[in-house]
Protein backbone atom coordinates (compact mmCIF):
# COMPACT_ATOMS: atom_id res chain seq x y z
CA UNK A 1 0.00 0.00 0.00
CA UNK A 2 2.70 2.47 0.97
CA UNK A 3 4.24 2.11 -2.50
CA UNK A 4 1.24 4.05 -3.82
CA UNK A 5 2.64 7.16 -2.16
CA UNK A 6 5.52 7.02 -4.65
CA UNK A 7 3.68 5.56 -7.62
CA UNK A 8 0.63 7.82 -7.79
CA UNK A 9 2.40 11.22 -8.04
CA UNK A 10 4.90 9.80 -10.55
CA UNK A 11 2.16 8.25 -12.67
CA UNK A 12 0.11 11.45 -12.70
CA UNK A 13 3.21 13.48 -13.56
CA UNK A 14 3.89 11.31 -16.62
CA UNK A 15 0.24 11.07 -17.68
CA UNK A 16 -0.23 14.83 -17.66
CA UNK A 17 2.86 15.78 -19.66
CA UNK A 18 0.68 16.69 -22.72
CA UNK A 19 -1.68 18.73 -20.51
CA UNK A 20 0.98 20.84 -18.83
CA UNK A 21 -1.31 23.82 -18.35
CA UNK A 22 -4.05 21.88 -16.59
CA UNK A 23 -1.81 20.08 -14.09
CA UNK A 24 -2.02 23.00 -11.67
CA UNK A 25 -5.61 22.14 -10.82
CA UNK A 26 -4.78 18.52 -10.06
CA UNK A 27 -2.01 19.18 -7.55
CA UNK A 28 -4.30 19.71 -4.51
CA UNK A 29 -6.15 16.47 -5.22
CA UNK A 30 -2.95 14.45 -5.49
CA UNK A 31 -1.61 15.96 -2.27
CA UNK A 32 -4.90 15.35 -0.50
CA UNK A 33 -4.95 11.76 -1.77
CA UNK A 34 -1.47 11.07 -0.33
CA UNK A 35 -2.43 12.67 2.96
CA UNK A 36 -5.59 10.56 3.31
CA UNK A 37 -3.70 7.44 2.23
CA UNK A 38 -1.05 7.99 4.92
CA UNK A 39 -3.67 8.51 7.62
CA UNK A 40 -5.33 5.23 6.61
CA UNK A 41 -2.09 3.18 6.61
CA UNK A 42 -1.34 1.04 9.67
CA UNK A 43 1.91 1.86 11.50
CA UNK A 44 4.65 -0.79 11.94
CA UNK A 45 4.15 -2.15 8.47
CA UNK A 46 6.95 -3.33 6.18
CA UNK A 47 6.34 -3.57 2.46
CA UNK A 48 8.54 -6.03 0.54
CA UNK A 49 8.73 -4.92 -3.07
CA UNK A 50 8.42 -7.80 -5.55
CA UNK A 51 7.96 -10.27 -2.73
CA UNK A 52 11.71 -10.48 -1.94
CA UNK A 53 12.34 -10.90 1.78
CA UNK A 54 14.12 -8.24 3.78
CA UNK A 55 17.90 -8.42 3.32
CA UNK A 56 17.61 -9.30 -0.39
CA UNK A 57 14.92 -7.05 -1.83
CA UNK A 58 14.01 -3.42 -1.43
CA UNK A 59 11.80 -2.69 1.55
CA UNK A 60 9.52 0.24 2.30
CA UNK A 61 9.41 0.67 6.06
CA UNK A 62 6.57 2.48 7.77
CA UNK A 63 7.34 2.87 11.45
CA UNK A 64 6.62 5.63 13.99
CA UNK A 65 9.24 8.03 12.68
CA UNK A 66 8.66 7.63 8.96
CA UNK A 67 4.88 7.79 9.44
CA UNK A 68 4.98 11.16 11.19
CA UNK A 69 7.64 12.54 8.84
CA UNK A 70 5.41 11.61 5.90
CA UNK A 71 2.48 13.44 7.48
CA UNK A 72 4.57 16.60 8.02
CA UNK A 73 5.99 16.61 4.49
CA UNK A 74 2.65 15.90 2.82
CA UNK A 75 0.90 18.65 4.78
CA UNK A 76 3.54 21.07 3.46
CA UNK A 77 2.94 19.86 -0.11
CA UNK A 78 -0.83 20.17 0.36
CA UNK A 79 -0.55 23.74 1.66
CA UNK A 80 1.75 24.71 -1.21
CA UNK A 81 -0.59 23.15 -3.78
CA UNK A 82 -3.39 25.41 -2.50
CA UNK A 83 -1.36 28.48 -3.54
CA UNK A 84 -1.13 27.97 -7.30
CA UNK A 85 -0.03 31.58 -7.85
CA UNK A 86 3.52 30.86 -6.75
CA UNK A 87 3.89 27.67 -8.81
CA UNK A 88 5.10 28.64 -12.26
CA UNK A 89 3.50 26.86 -15.18
CA UNK A 90 6.29 24.43 -16.05
CA UNK A 91 7.16 23.63 -12.45
CA UNK A 92 3.95 21.77 -11.57
CA UNK A 93 5.37 18.57 -13.05
CA UNK A 94 8.54 18.95 -11.02
CA UNK A 95 6.41 19.53 -7.94
CA UNK A 96 4.78 16.11 -8.41
CA UNK A 97 8.11 14.38 -9.03
CA UNK A 98 9.58 16.00 -5.93
CA UNK A 99 6.58 14.77 -3.95
CA UNK A 100 7.08 11.18 -5.16
CA UNK A 101 10.82 11.19 -4.49
CA UNK A 102 10.52 12.68 -1.01
CA UNK A 103 7.87 10.15 -0.03
CA UNK A 104 10.23 7.45 -1.29
CA UNK A 105 13.23 8.93 0.52
CA UNK A 106 11.36 8.78 3.81
CA UNK A 107 9.85 5.32 3.25
CA UNK A 108 12.83 3.43 1.91
CA UNK A 109 14.70 0.89 4.00
CA UNK A 110 17.56 0.37 1.56
CA UNK A 111 20.75 2.41 1.34
CA UNK A 112 21.18 2.31 -2.44
CA UNK A 113 17.50 3.01 -2.95
CA UNK A 114 17.86 6.05 -0.71
CA UNK A 115 20.74 7.20 -2.96
CA UNK A 116 18.45 6.94 -6.00
CA UNK A 117 15.69 8.91 -4.30
CA UNK A 118 18.27 11.44 -3.05
CA UNK A 119 19.40 12.01 -6.63
CA UNK A 120 15.82 12.35 -7.93
CA UNK A 121 15.10 14.85 -5.17
CA UNK A 122 18.27 16.77 -6.01
CA UNK A 123 17.49 16.83 -9.75
CA UNK A 124 13.99 18.14 -9.05
CA UNK A 125 15.52 20.72 -6.71
CA UNK A 126 18.03 21.83 -9.40
CA UNK A 127 15.20 22.38 -11.86
CA UNK A 128 13.12 24.24 -9.28
CA UNK A 129 16.05 26.47 -8.39
CA UNK A 130 16.61 27.47 -12.03
CA UNK A 131 13.29 29.34 -12.06
CA UNK A 132 13.39 33.15 -12.44
CA UNK A 133 16.40 32.78 -14.75
CA UNK A 134 18.66 31.86 -11.83
CA UNK A 135 20.79 29.55 -13.97
CA UNK A 136 24.18 30.22 -12.42
CA UNK A 137 22.92 29.49 -8.88
CA UNK A 138 21.24 26.33 -10.08
CA UNK A 139 24.43 25.19 -11.84
CA UNK A 140 26.47 25.76 -8.68
CA UNK A 141 23.92 23.72 -6.73
CA UNK A 142 24.07 21.00 -9.40
CA UNK A 143 27.85 20.68 -9.20
CA UNK A 144 27.97 20.62 -5.39
CA UNK A 145 24.97 18.33 -5.07
CA UNK A 146 26.30 15.85 -7.61
CA UNK A 147 29.73 15.62 -5.99
CA UNK A 148 27.97 15.01 -2.68
CA UNK A 149 25.84 12.37 -4.37
CA UNK A 150 28.99 10.68 -5.64
CA UNK A 151 30.39 10.57 -2.10
CA UNK A 152 27.10 9.19 -0.80
CA UNK A 153 27.31 6.44 -3.41
CA UNK A 154 30.88 5.69 -2.37
CA UNK A 155 29.72 5.43 1.27
CA UNK A 156 26.94 3.07 0.21
CA UNK A 157 29.47 0.86 -1.61
CA UNK A 158 31.81 0.76 1.36
CA UNK A 159 28.98 -0.36 3.60
CA UNK A 160 28.25 -3.06 1.03
CA UNK A 161 31.89 -4.16 1.23
CA UNK A 162 31.83 -4.04 5.03
CA UNK A 163 28.57 -5.84 5.74
CA UNK A 164 27.60 -7.52 2.47
CA UNK A 165 24.22 -5.87 2.52
CA UNK A 166 22.46 -2.71 1.44
CA UNK A 167 19.47 -3.06 3.75
CA UNK A 168 19.54 -0.45 6.53
CA UNK A 169 18.35 -2.88 9.19
CA UNK A 170 20.87 -5.52 8.09
CA UNK A 171 23.72 -2.98 8.13
CA UNK A 172 22.60 -1.82 11.57
CA UNK A 173 22.76 -5.42 12.81
CA UNK A 174 26.08 -6.39 11.22
CA UNK A 175 27.89 -3.17 11.99
CA UNK A 176 31.58 -3.52 12.89
CA UNK A 177 34.27 -1.08 13.88
CA UNK A 178 36.45 -1.64 10.80
CA UNK A 179 34.08 -0.18 8.28
CA UNK A 180 32.76 2.41 10.71
CA UNK A 181 35.97 4.34 10.23
CA UNK A 182 35.20 5.26 6.63
CA UNK A 183 31.47 4.97 5.87
CA UNK A 184 30.12 7.72 8.18
CA UNK A 185 32.63 10.24 6.80
CA UNK A 186 31.61 9.55 3.20
CA UNK A 187 27.89 9.60 3.97
CA UNK A 188 28.31 12.75 6.07
CA UNK A 189 29.93 14.52 3.10
CA UNK A 190 27.13 13.19 0.92
CA UNK A 191 24.39 14.56 3.14
CA UNK A 192 26.20 17.77 4.15
CA UNK A 193 25.15 19.60 0.99
CA UNK A 194 21.46 18.94 1.47
CA UNK A 195 21.50 19.39 5.24
CA UNK A 196 23.38 22.67 4.80
CA UNK A 197 26.55 22.11 6.84
CA UNK A 198 28.85 25.13 6.74
CA UNK A 199 31.65 24.55 4.24
CA UNK A 200 29.25 22.93 1.76
CA UNK A 201 26.31 25.31 2.21
CA UNK A 202 27.58 28.00 -0.16
CA UNK A 203 24.83 27.25 -2.68
CA UNK A 204 21.97 28.04 -0.29
CA UNK A 205 21.79 31.85 -0.55
CA UNK A 206 22.17 31.79 -4.33
CA UNK A 207 19.35 29.30 -4.74
CA UNK A 208 16.92 30.50 -2.07
CA UNK A 209 17.30 34.18 -2.96
CA UNK A 210 16.46 33.76 -6.65
CA UNK A 211 13.21 35.71 -6.23
CA UNK A 212 10.90 32.76 -6.81
CA UNK A 213 8.59 32.03 -3.88
CA UNK A 214 8.18 28.32 -4.52
CA UNK A 215 11.89 27.40 -4.50
CA UNK A 216 12.75 28.41 -0.92
CA UNK A 217 9.26 27.59 0.36
CA UNK A 218 9.70 23.98 -0.66
CA UNK A 219 13.48 23.50 -0.31
CA UNK A 220 13.73 25.06 3.16
CA UNK A 221 10.74 23.17 4.52
CA UNK A 222 9.80 19.83 2.95
CA UNK A 223 13.15 18.88 1.42
CA UNK A 224 15.11 20.00 4.48
CA UNK A 225 12.81 18.06 6.78
CA UNK A 226 13.13 14.85 4.79
CA UNK A 227 16.93 15.21 4.60
CA UNK A 228 17.10 15.72 8.36
CA UNK A 229 14.95 12.63 8.78
CA UNK A 230 17.32 10.64 6.55
CA UNK A 231 20.30 12.00 8.49
CA UNK A 232 18.77 10.85 11.77
CA UNK A 233 17.81 7.49 10.30
CA UNK A 234 21.30 6.76 9.00
CA UNK A 235 23.43 8.18 11.79
CA UNK A 236 21.28 7.19 14.78
CA UNK A 237 19.39 4.05 13.75
CA UNK A 238 22.06 2.52 11.52
CA UNK A 239 25.37 3.76 12.95
CA UNK A 240 24.11 3.92 16.58
CA UNK A 241 25.42 7.47 17.06
CA UNK A 242 28.93 6.85 15.75
CA UNK A 243 30.69 9.94 14.32
CA UNK A 244 28.14 12.32 15.85
CA UNK A 245 30.77 14.16 17.90
CA UNK A 246 32.24 15.47 14.63
CA UNK A 247 28.78 16.46 13.41
CA UNK A 248 28.29 18.33 16.69
CA UNK A 249 31.33 20.55 16.09
CA UNK A 250 30.43 21.19 12.44
CA UNK A 251 26.90 22.10 13.54
CA UNK A 252 28.13 24.68 16.05
CA UNK A 253 30.53 26.25 13.53
CA UNK A 254 27.65 26.43 11.04
CA UNK A 255 25.44 28.26 13.55
CA UNK A 256 28.04 30.93 14.31
CA UNK A 257 29.19 31.56 10.74
CA UNK A 258 25.68 31.58 9.27
CA UNK A 259 24.22 33.93 11.88
CA UNK A 260 27.09 36.39 11.42
CA UNK A 261 26.61 36.28 7.64
CA UNK A 262 22.85 36.77 8.02
CA UNK A 263 23.47 39.93 10.01
CA UNK A 264 25.49 41.45 7.17
CA UNK A 265 22.96 40.88 4.37
CA UNK A 266 21.02 43.74 2.84
CA UNK A 267 18.63 41.46 0.96
CA UNK A 268 15.82 39.93 3.00
CA UNK A 269 15.78 36.61 1.12
CA UNK A 270 19.54 36.18 1.55
CA UNK A 271 19.27 36.96 5.27
CA UNK A 272 16.54 34.36 5.64
CA UNK A 273 18.55 31.74 3.75
CA UNK A 274 21.52 32.25 6.07
CA UNK A 275 19.13 31.96 9.01
CA UNK A 276 17.91 28.69 7.50
CA UNK A 277 21.51 27.40 7.38
CA UNK A 278 21.99 28.42 11.01
CA UNK A 279 18.86 26.61 12.18
CA UNK A 280 19.96 23.47 10.31
CA UNK A 281 23.33 23.63 12.10
CA UNK A 282 21.62 24.09 15.44
CA UNK A 283 19.36 21.11 14.76
CA UNK A 284 22.29 18.87 13.84
CA UNK A 285 24.28 19.82 16.92
CA UNK A 286 21.24 19.18 19.13
CA UNK A 287 20.55 15.71 17.75
CA UNK A 288 24.27 14.91 18.03
CA UNK A 289 23.77 14.52 21.78
CA UNK A 290 22.05 11.28 20.72
CA UNK A 291 19.42 10.70 23.35
CA UNK A 292 15.66 10.45 23.20
CA UNK A 293 15.25 13.86 24.85
CA UNK A 294 17.70 15.66 22.58
CA UNK A 295 16.11 14.15 19.47
CA UNK A 296 12.68 15.25 20.69
CA UNK A 297 13.98 18.78 21.28
CA UNK A 298 15.75 18.81 17.92
CA UNK A 299 12.79 17.67 15.84
CA UNK A 300 10.44 19.97 17.79
CA UNK A 301 12.72 22.90 16.95
CA UNK A 302 12.96 21.81 13.31
CA UNK A 303 9.14 21.68 13.06
CA UNK A 304 8.86 25.20 14.49
CA UNK A 305 11.60 26.43 12.18
CA UNK A 306 10.00 25.05 9.01
CA UNK A 307 6.60 26.43 10.01
CA UNK A 308 8.09 29.88 10.46
CA UNK A 309 10.24 29.66 7.31
CA UNK A 310 7.23 28.60 5.22
CA UNK A 311 5.53 31.92 6.04
CA UNK A 312 8.67 34.04 5.94
CA UNK A 313 9.99 32.86 2.57
CA UNK A 314 6.66 33.14 0.74
CA UNK A 315 6.11 36.66 2.05
CA UNK A 316 9.69 37.78 1.48
CA UNK A 317 9.63 36.58 -2.12
CA UNK A 318 6.20 37.89 -3.11
CA UNK A 319 6.05 41.23 -1.33
CA UNK A 320 7.76 44.40 -2.45
CA UNK A 321 9.63 46.70 -0.13
CA UNK A 322 6.95 47.33 2.46
CA UNK A 323 3.75 46.08 4.07
CA UNK A 324 1.85 49.31 3.25
CA UNK A 325 -0.63 47.58 0.98
CA UNK A 326 -0.58 44.19 2.69
CA UNK A 327 -1.22 44.72 6.38
CA UNK A 328 -2.51 41.18 7.08
CA UNK A 329 0.50 39.67 5.36
CA UNK A 330 2.69 41.89 7.51
CA UNK A 331 1.09 40.53 10.67
CA UNK A 332 1.76 36.94 9.57
CA UNK A 333 5.38 37.89 8.79
CA UNK A 334 5.87 39.45 12.23
CA UNK A 335 4.39 36.45 14.04
CA UNK A 336 6.62 34.03 12.12
CA UNK A 337 9.74 36.14 12.65
CA UNK A 338 9.09 36.41 16.39
CA UNK A 339 8.72 32.66 16.52
CA UNK A 340 12.06 32.39 14.70
CA UNK A 341 13.92 34.34 17.38
CA UNK A 342 12.11 32.50 20.18
CA UNK A 343 10.09 35.33 21.62
CA UNK A 344 7.97 34.14 24.60
CA UNK A 345 4.38 33.10 23.77
CA UNK A 346 5.46 31.96 20.29
CA UNK A 347 6.31 28.43 19.20
CA UNK A 348 10.05 29.05 18.83
CA UNK A 349 10.33 29.93 22.52
CA UNK A 350 9.11 26.50 23.59
CA UNK A 351 11.61 24.62 21.47
CA UNK A 352 14.58 26.81 22.38
CA UNK A 353 13.72 26.33 26.05
CA UNK A 354 13.53 22.58 25.54
CA UNK A 355 16.92 22.58 23.80
CA UNK A 356 18.50 24.53 26.69
CA UNK A 357 16.96 22.15 29.22
CA UNK A 358 18.24 19.07 27.36
CA UNK A 359 21.71 20.56 27.00
CA UNK A 360 21.95 21.32 30.71
CA UNK A 361 20.67 17.84 31.59
CA UNK A 362 23.49 16.41 29.47
CA UNK A 363 25.94 18.76 31.24
CA UNK A 364 26.72 20.39 27.94
CA UNK A 365 27.50 24.07 28.42
CA UNK A 366 28.91 25.03 25.01
CA UNK A 367 25.65 24.55 23.10
CA UNK A 368 23.64 26.92 25.36
CA UNK A 369 26.30 29.61 24.99
CA UNK A 370 26.27 29.33 21.20
CA UNK A 371 22.45 29.18 21.14
CA UNK A 372 22.07 32.34 23.22
CA UNK A 373 24.75 34.13 21.17
CA UNK A 374 22.93 33.14 17.97
CA UNK A 375 19.62 34.29 19.43
CA UNK A 376 21.02 37.75 20.16
CA UNK A 377 22.21 38.13 16.56
CA UNK A 378 18.86 36.82 15.32
CA UNK A 379 17.00 39.40 17.39
CA UNK A 380 19.16 42.13 15.87
CA UNK A 381 18.47 41.32 12.24
CA UNK A 382 14.88 40.13 12.61
CA UNK A 383 13.86 43.32 14.39
CA UNK A 384 15.75 45.39 11.83
CA UNK A 385 13.86 43.73 8.97
CA UNK A 386 10.52 44.12 10.74
CA UNK A 387 11.11 47.84 11.25
CA UNK A 388 12.35 48.27 7.68
CA UNK A 389 9.26 46.63 6.22
CA UNK A 390 6.65 48.20 8.50
CA UNK A 391 8.09 51.76 8.40
CA UNK A 392 9.87 52.03 5.06
CA UNK A 393 11.82 55.24 4.57
CA UNK A 394 12.55 56.94 1.25
CA UNK A 395 10.21 54.73 -0.77
CA UNK A 396 9.37 56.21 -4.16
CA UNK A 397 5.68 56.83 -5.02
CA UNK A 398 5.81 54.86 -8.26
CA UNK A 399 7.30 51.91 -6.37
CA UNK A 400 4.41 52.17 -3.96
CA UNK A 401 2.04 52.01 -6.91
CA UNK A 402 3.81 48.93 -8.25
CA UNK A 403 3.45 46.75 -5.11
CA UNK A 404 0.43 44.56 -5.61
CA UNK A 405 -1.98 43.28 -3.09
CA UNK A 406 -1.57 39.56 -2.47
CA UNK A 407 -4.62 37.51 -3.36
CA UNK A 408 -6.93 36.21 -0.66
CA UNK A 409 -5.93 32.53 -0.71
CA UNK A 410 -2.23 33.31 -0.15
CA UNK A 411 -3.15 35.59 2.73
CA UNK A 412 -5.55 33.04 4.20
CA UNK A 413 -3.03 30.19 4.20
CA UNK A 414 -0.25 32.37 5.57
CA UNK A 415 -2.55 33.57 8.36
CA UNK A 416 -3.62 30.02 9.21
CA UNK A 417 0.01 28.89 9.45
CA UNK A 418 0.81 31.97 11.56
CA UNK A 419 -2.12 31.08 13.80
CA UNK A 420 -0.69 27.57 14.19
CA UNK A 421 2.54 29.15 15.44
CA UNK A 422 0.64 31.01 18.18
CA UNK A 423 -1.40 27.93 19.11
CA UNK A 424 1.77 25.85 19.38
CA UNK A 425 3.19 28.57 21.63
CA UNK A 426 0.39 27.91 24.10
CA UNK A 427 -0.27 24.20 23.55
CA UNK A 428 2.94 22.60 22.22
CA UNK A 429 1.51 19.09 22.60
CA UNK A 430 0.70 18.58 18.90
CA UNK A 431 4.22 19.24 17.68
CA UNK A 432 5.76 17.57 20.72
CA UNK A 433 3.83 14.39 19.97
CA UNK A 434 5.16 14.33 16.40
CA UNK A 435 8.71 14.99 17.62
CA UNK A 436 8.48 12.33 20.33
CA UNK A 437 7.22 9.74 17.88
CA UNK A 438 10.01 10.49 15.41
CA UNK A 439 12.59 10.39 18.21
CA UNK A 440 11.34 7.10 19.61
CA UNK A 441 11.31 5.53 16.15
CA UNK A 442 14.87 6.66 15.44
CA UNK A 443 16.48 5.75 18.77
CA UNK A 444 14.89 2.34 19.16
CA UNK A 445 17.03 0.54 16.60
CA UNK A 446 16.38 -2.96 17.97
CA UNK A 447 12.67 -2.59 17.25
CA UNK A 448 13.53 -1.33 13.76
CA UNK A 449 15.74 -4.33 13.02
CA UNK A 450 13.21 -6.90 14.25
CA UNK A 451 10.46 -5.02 12.44
CA UNK A 452 12.24 -5.28 9.10
CA UNK A 453 14.11 -8.57 9.32
CA UNK A 454 11.46 -10.44 11.27
CA UNK A 455 11.90 -12.02 14.70
CA UNK A 456 15.57 -13.01 14.84
Amino acid sequence: MSALLIAVPLLIAFLFVPLKNKIKYILPFVALFSLILILKLPIEQVNFLGGWKAPFGITLVLDNSSYYSLIVVNIIFFLLSLIPQIIEKDLSLIFLILMASINGLILTGDLFNSFVFLEITSVAAYILSSSKRNYYGAFKYLILGSIAGAFYLLGTLYSYIGTGSLNLADISKNINSEFLAVVPILIFIGLAVETKIFPLAGWVPDVYASGSALTPAILATGVTFSMMYLFGRIFITVFHGEFLNVVYIFGLITVVVAELSALKQDNLLRALSFSSIAQAGLFLSVISMNSYESLTAGYFHLLNDITAKFVLFIIAASIGKSFIKNKTTGIAFSIASFSLIGFPLFAGFRSKLLILKTAFLNQNYILPIILLFATIIEIAYVLRWNIKLWYPDNILPQEKEKTQKLSWNVNLILLIVALVIIVIGFYPDIYLKIAQNIASGLTNYRAYVTNVLGGM
Binding site: Y126, Y135, L142, S146, I147, L157
Partner: protein
Protein backbone atom coordinates in the same frame (compact mmCIF):
# COMPACT_ATOMS: atom_id res chain seq x y z
CA UNK B 1 44.85 -2.69 -9.34
CA UNK B 2 41.62 -1.28 -10.76
CA UNK B 3 40.97 0.39 -7.39
CA UNK B 4 44.01 2.60 -7.89
CA UNK B 5 42.76 3.76 -11.27
CA UNK B 6 39.41 4.81 -9.86
CA UNK B 7 40.98 6.70 -6.95
CA UNK B 8 43.45 8.46 -9.24
CA UNK B 9 40.50 9.49 -11.42
CA UNK B 10 38.59 10.84 -8.39
CA UNK B 11 41.70 12.84 -7.52
CA UNK B 12 41.87 14.25 -11.04
CA UNK B 13 38.21 15.22 -10.85
CA UNK B 14 38.60 17.06 -7.56
CA UNK B 15 41.75 18.78 -8.87
CA UNK B 16 39.68 19.96 -11.82
CA UNK B 17 37.08 21.53 -9.53
CA UNK B 18 39.63 23.34 -7.47
CA UNK B 19 41.74 24.80 -10.26
CA UNK B 20 39.55 25.38 -13.31
CA UNK B 21 37.61 28.58 -13.92
CA UNK B 22 35.52 27.43 -16.86
CA UNK B 23 32.12 26.06 -15.85
CA UNK B 24 32.19 23.47 -18.64
CA UNK B 25 35.38 22.04 -17.19
CA UNK B 26 33.60 21.70 -13.85
CA UNK B 27 31.01 19.56 -15.59
CA UNK B 28 33.78 17.45 -17.15
CA UNK B 29 35.37 16.99 -13.72
CA UNK B 30 32.02 15.82 -12.42
CA UNK B 31 31.82 13.26 -15.23
CA UNK B 32 35.33 12.04 -14.43
CA UNK B 33 34.34 11.46 -10.79
CA UNK B 34 31.18 9.65 -11.88
CA UNK B 35 33.19 7.40 -14.21
CA UNK B 36 35.73 6.71 -11.48
CA UNK B 37 33.02 5.58 -9.10
CA UNK B 38 31.42 3.41 -11.79
CA UNK B 39 34.79 1.70 -12.37
CA UNK B 40 35.08 1.19 -8.63
CA UNK B 41 31.62 -0.41 -8.45
CA UNK B 42 32.39 -2.79 -11.31
CA UNK B 43 35.73 -3.78 -9.79
CA UNK B 44 33.97 -4.65 -6.51
CA UNK B 45 32.08 -7.59 -7.90
CA UNK B 46 34.88 -9.03 -10.03
CA UNK B 47 36.35 -12.33 -8.91
CA UNK B 48 39.26 -13.61 -11.01
CA UNK B 49 38.45 -16.70 -13.08
CA UNK B 50 34.68 -16.71 -12.53
CA UNK B 51 31.96 -16.42 -15.13
CA UNK B 52 29.31 -13.90 -16.04
CA UNK B 53 26.23 -14.26 -13.81
CA UNK B 54 23.91 -15.71 -16.47
CA UNK B 55 22.41 -19.06 -15.59
CA UNK B 56 22.33 -21.44 -18.60
CA UNK B 57 23.16 -24.99 -19.61
CA UNK B 58 26.80 -24.02 -20.26
CA UNK B 59 27.25 -23.02 -16.63
CA UNK B 60 25.97 -26.01 -14.65
CA UNK B 61 28.04 -24.98 -11.63
CA UNK B 62 27.10 -21.46 -10.60
CA UNK B 63 30.64 -20.08 -10.53
CA UNK B 64 29.57 -16.49 -10.83
CA UNK B 65 30.99 -13.08 -10.10
CA UNK B 66 28.88 -10.92 -7.77
CA UNK B 67 25.94 -9.70 -9.89
CA UNK B 68 24.73 -7.00 -7.50
CA UNK B 69 27.40 -4.37 -8.34
CA UNK B 70 26.51 -4.75 -12.03
CA UNK B 71 22.90 -3.94 -11.21
CA UNK B 72 24.04 -0.97 -9.13
CA UNK B 73 26.34 0.42 -11.81
CA UNK B 74 23.53 0.47 -14.39
CA UNK B 75 21.46 2.68 -12.10
CA UNK B 76 24.46 4.87 -11.29
CA UNK B 77 25.26 5.35 -15.00
CA UNK B 78 21.68 6.34 -15.80
CA UNK B 79 21.61 8.88 -12.97
CA UNK B 80 24.97 10.25 -14.07
CA UNK B 81 23.78 10.73 -17.66
CA UNK B 82 20.62 12.47 -16.46
CA UNK B 83 22.57 14.92 -14.35
CA UNK B 84 25.05 15.53 -17.18
CA UNK B 85 22.19 16.38 -19.56
CA UNK B 86 20.62 18.73 -17.04
CA UNK B 87 23.98 20.38 -16.37
CA UNK B 88 24.67 20.97 -20.06
CA UNK B 89 21.23 22.47 -20.62
CA UNK B 90 21.74 24.77 -17.64
CA UNK B 91 25.14 25.78 -19.08
CA UNK B 92 23.49 26.72 -22.39
CA UNK B 93 21.12 28.97 -20.46
CA UNK B 94 24.02 30.44 -18.46
CA UNK B 95 25.84 31.24 -21.72
CA UNK B 96 22.70 32.85 -23.19
CA UNK B 97 22.30 35.02 -20.09
CA UNK B 98 25.89 36.11 -19.43
CA UNK B 99 27.66 35.53 -22.75
CA UNK B 100 30.51 33.73 -21.03
CA UNK B 101 31.27 30.58 -19.05
CA UNK B 102 34.15 31.98 -17.00
CA UNK B 103 33.40 32.00 -13.25
CA UNK B 104 35.12 35.32 -12.55
CA UNK B 105 33.39 37.15 -15.41
CA UNK B 106 29.99 35.80 -14.34
CA UNK B 107 30.55 36.89 -10.74
CA UNK B 108 31.59 40.34 -11.96
CA UNK B 109 28.41 40.61 -14.08
CA UNK B 110 26.23 39.38 -11.20
CA UNK B 111 27.68 41.98 -8.89
CA UNK B 112 26.75 44.83 -11.22
Amino acid sequence: MVYYISFILIGIGIYGFLTQKNLFKHLISLTIIDTAINIFIISLGYISGEEAPIYSKYTPIANFVDPLPQALVLTAIVIGVGILALGVSLLIKVYEKYGTLDVEEIVAKEGK
